[in-house]
Symmetry: C2
Subunit: 426 residues, 2 copies
Amino acid sequence: MDATSFVLKGNVCYSVSPQEASCTAGGYLVCVEGKSAGVFAELPERFASLPVIDCGDQLIVPGMSDIHVHAPQYAFRGLGMDLELIDWLNTRTFPEEARYADLAYAERAYSIFADDLRRSATTRAVVFGTLHVPATELLMDKLEATGLITYVGKVNMDRNSPDSLVETSEQSAEATRTWIADVAGRYERTRPIITPRFTPSVTDDLMAELSRIRAEFDLPVQSHLSENLSEVEWVHELCPWSSCYGDAYDHFGMLGPATVMAHCVYSDNEETELLRRTGTYVAHCPQSNAQLASGIAPIRRYLDLGMNVGLGTDVAGGADLSMFRCMADAVAVSKLRWRLVDQELAPLTTQEALWLATVGGGSFFGKVGSFAEGYELDALVLDDSGIRTPRELSDWERVERYVYLAEEGGRIARKFVAGREVELGA
Amino acid sequence: MDATSFVLKGNVCYSVSPQEASCTAGGYLVCVEGKSAGVFAELPERFASLPVIDCGDQLIVPGMSDIHVHAPQYAFRGLGMDLELIDWLNTRTFPEEARYADLAYAERAYSIFADDLRRSATTRAVVFGTLHVPATELLMDKLEATGLITYVGKVNMDRNSPDSLVETSEQSAEATRTWIADVAGRYERTRPIITPRFTPSVTDDLMAELSRIRAEFDLPVQSHLSENLSEVEWVHELCPWSSCYGDAYDHFGMLGPATVMAHCVYSDNEETELLRRTGTYVAHCPQSNAQLASGIAPIRRYLDLGMNVGLGTDVAGGADLSMFRCMADAVAVSKLRWRLVDQELAPLTTQEALWLATVGGGSFFGKVGSFAEGYELDALVLDDSGIRTPRELSDWERVERYVYLAEEGGRIARKFVAGREVELGA
């Protein structure tokens, strides 16, 4: 037995289906070599030799997967959200991302990002960097040191981008190959992911070359899809041969179960079917879609179709890294969508939001996001004693209110990723 | 000069109009006998004898007014927001409020509410209690002790309410008179406000009697208006004589500049004109209106018409007491409304949200919410050093991101109400 074999004792809650959470008061969550051996009301004799970490009356829930977040945008989170997507990119985002050519700036910025992500509820993340290889490798170094498990992308962009933040197609492909070679075998927890920014920033030639690279190195893919109405129209002009925006990726073989597409607010029936058929992951980013006035994605429809869906904070379209806030926002905007757009699609429940934040996004990383036997053990120990009430609460009620009140008085007491404890520090 | 005369030195920002904030770096905010004598880049000689509180590089902004919040619902904040208004009232809210017949329960619950409100960004509040006089007086005692300035209402409800939480018309009127007599002259900072729950809970006879009481004692009024579509229809059935829901209050003389009406999501042109003409305050409660699937109020229209509008957390329709979160939510839902409902109404800006949270709601209390000369001095000293960034930020940018990131890493370092410092404690 190694350091990744132990028992967590506490009030253990996790999603057993999108609709249902299982809670075991005073339960034993057994971790053997980094994987869950199950949750038990009494500790089975065969695990009696494992060290027990007694979490007292605290809650134990699965770690969260943030499957869409932009590391370089963390520096201007909470600022300048007064524009729609395309203007926001040109005015706020691209000038900030251009600064990551300066490795000293990247060092300062990514130190903060990695440090805050380490202390957050996130145990796994799918992360955009910038187009700069040195800064992206620096980001990967810093994320590796956190103990979290992440996919990190050097961004590709060879059109419709400012002079300060653009590559030629050849440069972009060559830099991507250099980067992949640099990081090969370098990390235990940090992996490269092919990252065409989005169709408006990537020529067909470059997209084709990125498709070859991803196939050659068997790499996953992340990008953006159907976030904003102007963007969707623009792709229609840029790729007149495509039957829908999603087809502009699928044509190059970029969709599939190893691909995350952020947003999917305006996916029509054809695009939705394409995403479903290919098993592509949808990263739902509710706060970003509100703050950039994009709209509200029909997540109920995607769940009903059995599609792969997780949650993303989409910093800095979203202002912060809190996955609890992301869950609360997912529920809130689904209610507004039901009220204002389409009463055919029932609002999401808090149970479903927990499922999306854990199993939904976690499954992009394998067997992650559940405490069922065989899952890699990502866990959060939550101290909710700062959220005071005169009422007696069930364990599920405590989880439910933590989703809405994490920032009011919650505290992450301990955090484990694949059975290894993450140092939370001050 | 007394303890309420002093100078705050720091980065002073406040709203000078809905569109514009004034920021003075290293400025001097002068308080003389509880009122602002203005903000100065250099301290005028005539104030040289006042003690100076040096807040260093911290931000100084006006205190916030939460003009719609339900104290007894704080105990179940963040729980059970899976229903629309009427079902939520019957299933979640009324059973909880009935518990306040038990003064020991009220003691436990209101201690937590008052303590958390004291430590929040709120300096003034307009508060619903329950229909119970002893519990409401207990709440007033506790709020008085916080140092905040509040209006607190014993709720009236004599129809369509459960047996455990209902009065006869006579009981309700008599209890209201008893309560007003009890609290007369009892407090320095805490005032009674007439509180018919909403038209569905109050018969015409009781509403008429409450109107007489409010006139007799010159008291303000708070209630709910046009929050939810089913509620609006119901009022149409209950008061077939009324031309709109707002008329069901106006008919009894319950509207005016001393009245707060919460929500106004579905106010039609006639009702809007009634609110405007009477100077009635609209309490905009964006988080509650999302979480109870009510909708999004057209606040831009109300501002364009020059109406009185402030913000409310509406706990427990809203999950927490944070007025910064309330401001961020007001901006976010206004963008979704623009996107999904009506592109004639531009989204709110962060500047406008600050104005609503300070001057907008503050003006219900008099000259409150500004640092202009003559305003009662409510101030927050904000420590944003926990919100890290490699960027250089202007003072306004620091305020702007604090709105979105208060819960991430912000800390209220000091708090003043009408020139008196509030003890924030641990």
